[in-house]
Symmetry: C2
């Protein structure tokens, strides 16, 4: 039988051992959970199960490393796309910043509405107006100058609601997913309707995705000699629209392999997910569903930006993974950097 | 003083030691020479010097691994392009193979000339005829079917002079160069005027260059549903011509970084080399000069295929590397596989 001191020592030891093992279990969980910002549940499990299935050597669904191609949308899938795409906010700011060189814009739509901060008038200019704004702000300069302009803008422009840099409004759970995929031999590509040169200005630093793995919409460039030095000049002419059916077409043009993993968030991703699903082996199709008006935004079928309607129905019907932002994501954004 | 046996033993030992060290020196040289099929001299040395300069950590010309982008032409740079591009030989064979489905071709140029083996008539149809032949043989099928057709053709079609498979007519020195670059952290890309889907059918197996690192000319594809399955159908419409100024434009569209190393062999590579040379740091520009009519072909300024005129003058003027096939290459082709 234990005496008093002996008992106390014994209990203290037990307690210490218990705490130690608890700490060790927690530490191990933190070490081994590759997706700590995802709540446990079927969504997270579907990702873990897929990666386990295709990476286990000798297993029936094993996929060799070079064929582990993951294609992931950007706006609304890797970062915030509301209330307007960051790239469109950039274009609007560029119209304002260069207006002194274009006196005609004061009376010419859609520029007049932008300069008068008349969002209603801007909206009234419709898709035609959008195209004019993008052409006016995305052409007439060299690719190098455009790259610098985008970087300069991203370094200072703040999101209207969150008041932080756009590159701070990336989704922490998706960053973890990208890292997890890469740690398992996947090559991660962005496949986005956004402008390829806009995205390349930040994708490497922000997502760890190098320029050559960024696929997007683009304009024609023209090789010219300026002061005996070659430059590529951005022309006001569409080269490729990487949206909807353009996504599988772009995947074929730029990658030349079919992805086995694809993630999107809108109807513009539907064909990319269908194309991925139609591969021969096991494949993973995922959608981010924006359901969290408090921490981010809640929108789907009727949204002007990032409309998710047909792709949602197809995902439900076919059992694709739907990441419900409110329920599946423990945190939305990485710890703030620019907003102390 | 050594007695007779002693002396003999001593000499034998010396001899043995001498031989051993000679053998060891030769073995070491073979082990450490990354370009054994290149003759020693300034051409080979320029490659070795460049790679040493950009890979030595802390040196003034050091380039971080992700920026070590190498872009290399295919026809005439990595494999034989004479007397006609392999892809054109493929197209001609496809016209013959599918002629029964096109009775109108019997009287319709340029198809009638092909079916009559009338090369003069074919040549008379000019570029317009070429385009018609490529369109007729490179569209109207799915990307998957086209890939299979190319692979099947490459497995059997023989080069008219060398009587071996086209994929046996790759340049051993360039294979060594690709391996050497990759061993030094370079990402090797093909940037060719040839069809991207044609090249992707063999580039991985033949050159160790995966589909996503092959850039070439291409046609528009169309996303369609066939029997409820998505397919990409090749359309008779040009999407991108990756030749001349199209090469830097394609490098920008598909890679989004400027190469630091580029190799070509014709005027179609001029702008790619200029674009590479215009980068900020140290860069390497090289041309294969076909000077060996005995072992391969000798051609440059007046050649119909692979004309090398302005780019040669520019290379000489600017001190770019010129690989003189006859003098710089110890061997041309890898040990024969298909031709026993």
């Amino acid at each position: 039988m234990l005496n008093r001191i002996g008992r106390r020592t014994f209990l203290a030891t037990l307690l210490a051992l218990g705490l130690a093992s608890l700490i060790s279990i927690q530490a191990r969980a933190a070490e081994t959970d590759p997706l700590p910002s995802w709540n446990d549940g079927p969504t997270k499990q579907s990702i873990l199960d897929f990666v386990a299935a295709v990476t286990k050597d000798g297993a029936p669904d094993y996929v060799p490393v070079p064929e582990r191609i993951a294609t992931i949308d950007n706006d609304g899938t890797l970062w915030v796309e509301q209330p307007i795409y960051a790239q469109f906010a950039f274009a609007v700011d560029r119209v304002k910043a260069t207006a002194d060189k274009h006196p005609e814009w004061k009376t010419q739509e859609p520029f007049a509405s932008i300069l008068a901060d008349d969002l209603k008038g801007l909206a009234a200019s419709g898709e035609k107006g959008m195209v004019e704004i993008v052409e006016a702000t995305h052409s007439g300069m060299t690719t190098a100058d455009f790259n610098k302009t985008v970087k300069d803008w991203l370094a200072v422009a703040k999101h209207p609601r969150f008041k932080v840099l756009y590159t701070d409004l990336i989704y922490q759970p998706m960053l973890e997913l990208l890292n997890y995929l890469r740690a398992n031999g996947f090559k991660t590509f962005i496949v986005s309707g956004g402008g390829v040169e806009f995205m390349r200005a930040f994708a490497d630093k922000t997502y760890g995705i190098p320029p050559e793995q960024v696929i997007g919409s683009s304009g024609v460039t023209d090789y010219q000699m300026w002061d005996a030095s070659p430059v590529l000049v951005k022309m006001p002419k569409v080269f490729f629209v990487d949206d909807g059916p353009g996504k599988p077409e772009g995947i074929n043009h730029f990658i030349g392999r079919r992805p086995i993993f694809a993630f999107g968030n809108s109807d513009g991703d539907k064909e990319m997910l269908e194309w991925t699903a139609a591969g021969e082996g096991l494949s993973f199709m995922g959608l981010v569903h924006h359901t969290d008006a408090v921490r981010e935004y809640a929108y789907d079928r009727d949204s002007q930006v990032g409309k998710l309607d047909k792709a949602l129905d197809e995902a439900v019907a076919k059992g694709w993974t739907i990441a419900d932002m409110k329920n599946d994501w423990k945190t939305i954004f990485p710890p703030a950097k620019s907003n102390p």
